[in-house]
């Protein structure tokens, strides 16, 4: 995958593809300027910074995706083609390489630790690679694939908390690594979908991770924060500390569930339910909402019996609120499992399409703690107005990730695995198979 990304950067044009449950977005990035992808920089703040610009973007409705996983390949393919073609047309260039996101797919986070003795008295890059290879890998389970494996903390002798240990003098080097695994089929489906669109996959990212990178400001990433990406099918949660992601998980509930509840509760079609949710939705009912009537008359067809229907906003809120509370409860459980209470600053940032519901921050404060804010993604150069909404946080985050990639295990030349230790290499079989 290194080669693919290097080839893409050399060509200068890269596409970022976000395949979600409710929408598929494709933006085309152009990398220009002297800050090209420098692979030699290795450990530390990323393997090279690049300046980039958005030259094409397109969003289309997503079909064939449920809970973030591709269900119907043909439909999803068509949506991807639609999005890619639209973005290409606007950009005026043909893109061959694409970085995609995976949301949901039952992620599981593992924290691994490895330690080696330094041979030359100070830390070299080979030592870092050896320490990464020395991490003992647990059994991930059947048909699980590793999505991210990032070194998050280095410790030389007793000094911990190093982000770049090169050339530090010491005897032993220890590394903490965060490994994120997802369901193997979901990953394979995504790879196949991308390949069938004549595109080459140059990188893959977790949507929760991307949303965190876009919505969390640098201080929050440094001091510790949780990013909750409330999407259509899946609500992703990612924890950041010291600019690294420590934990990621997903709750299989999202905005689509709320829509379905409204449709079933008010007996309106799904399209009307979606419109109700986005236009008139809310979570805090006031007296005024009892009297505010929304016209939900169905379209004139042969079943129309001439009756006009209205619902009050209070009814709507009454249907939406329990479901959103349920989603936030799920998020809280995830944060508890992750050990969010031990973090120094427990900031929660809500982003994603469903975070736009009026009154969500009040509800979230009651469930998730005092420090809750609604976040928007970072502004990047060239992005159109409609794509700076919170629902595109994952896309923007992935673009930032493409420009400033974080070190992954495959950035290092790993030594041959030692006998008896299940090395990381074996776990990455599917990388080799697909790329």
């Amino acid at each position: 995958m290194r080669q693919a990304r290097r080839a893409a950067m050399a060509r200068g044009v890269l596409a970022v593809l976000d395949i979600g449950t409710s929408k598929v977005t494709c933006i085309v990035l152009q990398f220009d300027g002297p800050g090209q992808f420098r692979e030699s920089d290795g450990v530390g703040p990323m393997a090279g910074q690049s300046s980039f610009r958005v030259i094409g973007q397109f969003t289309t409705q997503s079909r064939g995706v449920r809970y973030g996983e591709i269900e119907t390949m043909a439909e999803t393919e068509r949506c991807v083609r639609h999005a890619v073609q639209g973005a290409q047309k606007q950009a005026g260039v043909r893109v061959d390489h694409v970085i995609a996101t995976i949301s949901g797919a039952r992620p599981a986070s593992y924290g691994l630790a490895g330690e080696i003795a330094l041979r030359s008295g100070k830390v070299t890059e080979e030592d870092v690679a050896a320490a990464l290879a020395a991490c003992e890998v647990p059994d991930f389970g059947r048909n699980r694939d590793v999505l991210h494996a990032q070194p998050v903390n280095f410790a030389v002798d007793a000094r911990s908390g190093l982000s770049d240990p090169r050339d530090i003098v010491g005897d032993r080097l220890a590394v903490d690594m965060h490994v994120l695994t997802i369901d193997g089929f979901a990953a394979s489906n995504l790879v196949q979908c991308v390949q069938r669109c004549d595109l080459e996959l140059a990188g893959v990212g977790s949507a929760a991770y991307a949303a965190g990178r876009a919505a969390l400001v640098e201080d929050e990433q440094e001091l510790g924060a949780a990013c909750v990406d409330m999407g259509g099918g899946v609500t992703g949660v990612s924890l950041f500390l010291k600019k690294h992601m420590l934990f990621a998980d997903a709750v299989r509930m999202g905005g689509d569930l709320v829509t379905r509840d409204i449709s079933a509760g008010l007996r309106v079609p799904l399209a009307t339910a979606e419109w109700l949710k986005t236009r008139h939705g809310g979570l805090e009912a006031t007296n005024r909402d009892d009297r505010e009537m929304i016209d939900v008359t169905p379209e004139r067809d042969e079943h129309w019996d001439g009756e006009r229907r209205t619902v009050s906003r209070a009814d709507l809120i009454g249907i939406m609120r329990p479901r959103v509370e349920e989603i936030l409860d799920g998020v809280r459980e995830v944060l508890e499992v992750a050990g969010f209470d031990q973090m120094p600053s427990r900031q929660v940032v809500l982003t994603g399409g469903a975070s736009q519901i009026p009154g969500l921050d009040g509800l979230a404060m009651r469930i998730l703690g005092q420090n809750v804010r609604i976040g928007r993604p970072l502004r990047i150069h060239g992005l159109a107005q409609q794509h700076t909404a919170p629902c595109h946080a994952a896309t923007v985050g992935l673009a930032l990730h493409a420009a400033n990639p974080q070190d992954e295990w495959w950035d290092f030349e790993m030594p041959v695995e030692r006998a008896g230790v299940v090395g990381l290499r074996r776990a990455y079989r599917w990388f080799r198979n697909n790329w």
Binding site: T60, R78, H82, V84, Q85, D198, E302, G306
Partner: protein, 342 residues
């Protein structure tokens, strides 16, 4: 409840009644127009991507129209009759344009030519007048005409009004040249002007003779210029052995000039003549081939005068001794030969 009855009555009056359905029958299927799925088909997507590649774009935008034009032209021209028609049409149009009034040449005017040359020129015109000026190639005509010996330079111009004007500069004959193939008129540079039948055609021109004399015409003319006093007696110059000149005078006298620098030698001979009246005496040949050693060849009378003065017997025209009274020529010749040999 009566109020409600009013309401329901009003409702049923205003709203159309529900359509009657046979019990148990399914409702008619909705004639909904199939909504087109947004998003391109795979083929459309691939074509779109192809179109975005600059190489293919150039190929189709530029290459395809070129190919089409070439193919159509090739197909159209492949038919024999069409080709013939096309060339015929083009030729007709060209002919039409070329025959326009403004381009026609009607007459030919020749200046500075003698009548014979005039006739020759008119005959040399490749087209019969009136003709289109496109058909007359002036440069070729000029080259052809200048090949004529009689003409030194000719200028052709087509003047407005349809007049082809020729300004001719003829060669001036300066000398006559007699050689094995006949008699030629040459100009001052030695270029042939014309052939003549006899010398009397141009009595005023000098005569040179011998092969290779034409190449040294200028030398000959210089010699003739220098031969002032003997000009009335000069019959001509002869080129001997293609090497040197002989000045031939009447009464059978010759002056042999050297190969190099004949002019000073001639002047030397003339000076001798002016001094001693050499040429009016009985001298047949003045040999100045070696200018340091002039040699004279005497005639019979002079020889006999010298022999008489020396007391020798005279000789006749054949070189035989003439005994004064006695003896035949044979014994006198033998005695002379013995005396000479002794």
């Amino acid at each position: 409840m009566s109020g409600l009855k009013h309401l329901t009555a009003a409702f049923s009056a205003v709203a159309p009644p529900a359509p009657a359905r046979r019990p148990g029958a399914r409702p008619p299927p909705a004639a909904r127009t199939a909504r087109r799925e947004p998003g391109p088909s795979r083929l459309a997507y691939r074509l779109n991507r192809l179109w975005l590649t600059p190489f293919y774009r150039r190929l189709f935008r530029i290459g395809l129209p070129l190919l089409l034009v070439a193919a159509i032209t090739g197909l159209w021209l492949s038919d024999e009759t069409r080709r013939a028609n096309l060339t015929g049409g083009v030729a007709a149009v060209v002919e039409n344009i070329q025959s326009r009034e403004a381009f026609m040449v009607r007459t030919m005017e020749i200046e500075g030519a003698s009548p014979a040359v005039d006739r020759a020129l008119r005959a040399m015109l490749p087209v019969t007048l009136p003709a289109s000026s496109f058909d007359i190639e002036l440069r070729d005509l000029r080259e052809a005409v200048e090949r004529l010996d009689a003409i030194e330079k000719v200028e052709f111009r087509i003047r407005p009004g349809g007049i082809l004007s020729a300004v001719v500069v003829e060669r001036e004959p300066a000398i006559l040249w007699r050689h094995a193939r006949g008699l030629d008129l040459l100009d001052a540079q030695g270029h042939r002007v014309a052939s003549v039948t006899s010398r009397d055609v141009r009595r005023d021109l000098p005569l040179i003779a011998g092969e290779g004399a034409a190449r040294h015409t200028d030398e000959a003319l210089a010699l003739i210029d220098a031969a002032g006093p003997i000009l009335p007696r000069l019959r001509g110059l002869e080129r001997v052995g293609e090497r040197r000149w002989d000045v031939v005078l009447d009464r059978g006298q010759r002056i042999m000039l050297p190969t190099a620098r004949p002019l000073p030698a001639l002047r030397q001979a003339l000076a001798m003549d002016a001094q001693d009246g050499l040429l009016s005496r009985d001298v047949t040949v003045i040999d100045l081939r070696d200018p340091a050693r002039p040699v004279l060849r005497m005639g019979l009378t002079a020889q006999n005068t010298l022999r008489r003065a020396a007391g020798l017997p005279e000789i006749d025209g054949d070189g035989n001794l003439i005994e004064p009274e006695e003896g035949g020529a044979k014994t006198a010749a033998a005695g002379n030969a013995a005396r000479r040999g002794g």
